[in-house]
Amino acid sequence: MNFVFRKLQASFTQQAFVFSQTLPVCRAAPSVQCPAWGAAFVNERQHHSMPTHEIGRWKHLMKKRVQKKKKDRFQMKPIVAATDSAYGTLNVQVSGYDMTLVEHYTQYIHNLCNQLGINVGLCYALPTKTMEVMLMQEKGTKMYVDAVLKTHERVVQLISLDTTLCPVLMDVVLKNQPEGVKLSVKEFTEADFKDRFKERPEMRELMSQINY
């Protein structure tokens, strides 16, 4: 066995000698190592001593995202104007006394629009309105509360609804309308947007004072 080792050693030393001669030649050639400012080639990995370093890196593959400022006010999306072949921004308002029916119907409309490929902008709820039904007492003058009715309202906003698709959608939606639920299709205006906000009486007074 020894002679085998000796032979190997000899061959090795020979090889080393060959290498040392050719090493300056190699050095002059462009080095395989990356320049200092980082991995220009994506598949390059540094640290040959740590073979799995940065193996899970993926953030550099994504596009840069601009951080949204948290102080942005809730702005209204611009109203799309109607063209010759499509309606602009439409509001489909569903209202009723029974909340489960109203919500399920809204979900149904939303899913139907998604399936038909209609662009749905927003889907929001308007504040609930409570109505108290007062009845006159028999043999008396006092009114007493008979029932409390709450009107729930949900809005689905459709953007650029195609005119050819409109009758199909309306027909399906009307034929599946549940009992006790009101449906209304209107154009979306600024006033509708303002309806969603609460009144600020002090702000109003201050503004009127400024403008005065």
Binding site: C166, P167, G180, K186
Partner: protein
């Protein structure tokens, strides 16, 4: 076809506004249509100069539908499922305020009857109510018994094909008997298109020109939903007239004036009954856009 395109391109779009609702039990099938300002911008029809007149006569027809007034009856499987889900919900639910009050009152009654009852030991002063929850429930039961809902199905009215109030659970389509060429046929009310009109206006005219007019309808869109092409028999064809093309527009009935004559040639039919009265080629095209139910 060029004329129809000209009409469609030249005018700005109408704003569609309609409001619809349903009453569950009451028999009035009138829908509450608070049509908020169906404003229409002025139409400017640009005349597309046609070098050669089209050999087809254009007509617009209206598919007027009366939507169902009451909900359809449930399938037996649906009924069983409904009962099952109701029972499950009831078993999982918590007590409501009224039911809690009932239980408290019952408990208090028992304690009163026990004998060693001291009313000063009552925790809450609300217990001095005169009206017990049980009494409230009894009064509500009485009110419910007094209420008589209208019958859902009236067999006599169902048989009458000309009545609008038949088959409240289905949607009906209006059919009119009109003179076409030399024969009287049952079809969707149609009218011929004239220069200067849009197709939708023609359809509205078709509806208004019916002998028993008094329908107020909401058209669902400016675009037609179907087409029927009819070629005249070879003998009647000329160079300038090959046949007719009928464009269908969908509309929903909002209300009807009660002064309609009962002997007018009008019928309200369900989709399944259409083929009894209408020619098969026509039915094939029309059935494609009528949704059931």
């Amino acid at each position: 076809m060029a004329a129809a395109c000209g009409g469609a391109v030249g005018r700005p779009l109408c704003q569609l506004l309609s409001c619809l609702s349903r009453t569950a039990v009451s028999y009035t099938w009138r829908r509450h249509f608070s049509a908020t300002s169906l404003c229409r911008t002025t139409l400017q029809t640009q005349r597309v100069t046609e070098s050669a007149g089209s050999p087809w006569t254009l007509m617009a027809a209206v598919c007027l539908q009366r939507l169902p007034v009451i909900s359809a009856d449930c399938h037996p499987v649906e009924q069983r499922f409904k009962q099952l889900t109701r029972q499950m919900e009831r078993e999982k639910s918590l007590f409501s305020d009224h039911e809690l009050r009932l239980l408290e009152d019952a408990e208090r009654m028992n304690r009163k009857r026990a004998g060693s009852y001291d009313s000063d030991e009552e925790d809450d002063n609300r217990g001095q109510d005169i009206v017990l929850a049980q009494d409230l429930e009894d009064s509500w039961e009485q009110k419910l018994k007094k209420f008589q809902p209208a019958p859902r199905v009236k067999a006599v009215v169902d048989e009458d094909l000309t009545s609008v109030e038949r088959c409240l659970a289905d949607s009906l389509v209006l059919l009119a008997e009109q003179q076409v060429g030399s024969e009287k046929l049952w079809l969707l009310p149609q009218a011929e298109w004239q220069e200067g009109d849009t197709l939708r206006q023609t359809a509205e005219r078709a509806l208004a020109s019916l002998p028993a007019a008094g329908f107020s309808a909401t058209f669902l869109s400016n675009a037609p939903c179907g087409v029927y092409k009819y070629k005249l028999p070879k003998a009647a064809r000329t160079d300038s007239l090959v046949g007719t093309k009928v464009f269908f527009f969908k509309a929903v009935l909002s209300s009807m004036s009660p002064s309609t004559a009962s002997n007018a040639p009008l019928m309200w039919l369900k989709k399944s009954e259409l083929q009894r009265f209408v020619k098969p080629a026509y039915t094939m095209k029309v059935e494609r856009f009528i949704l059931d139910p």
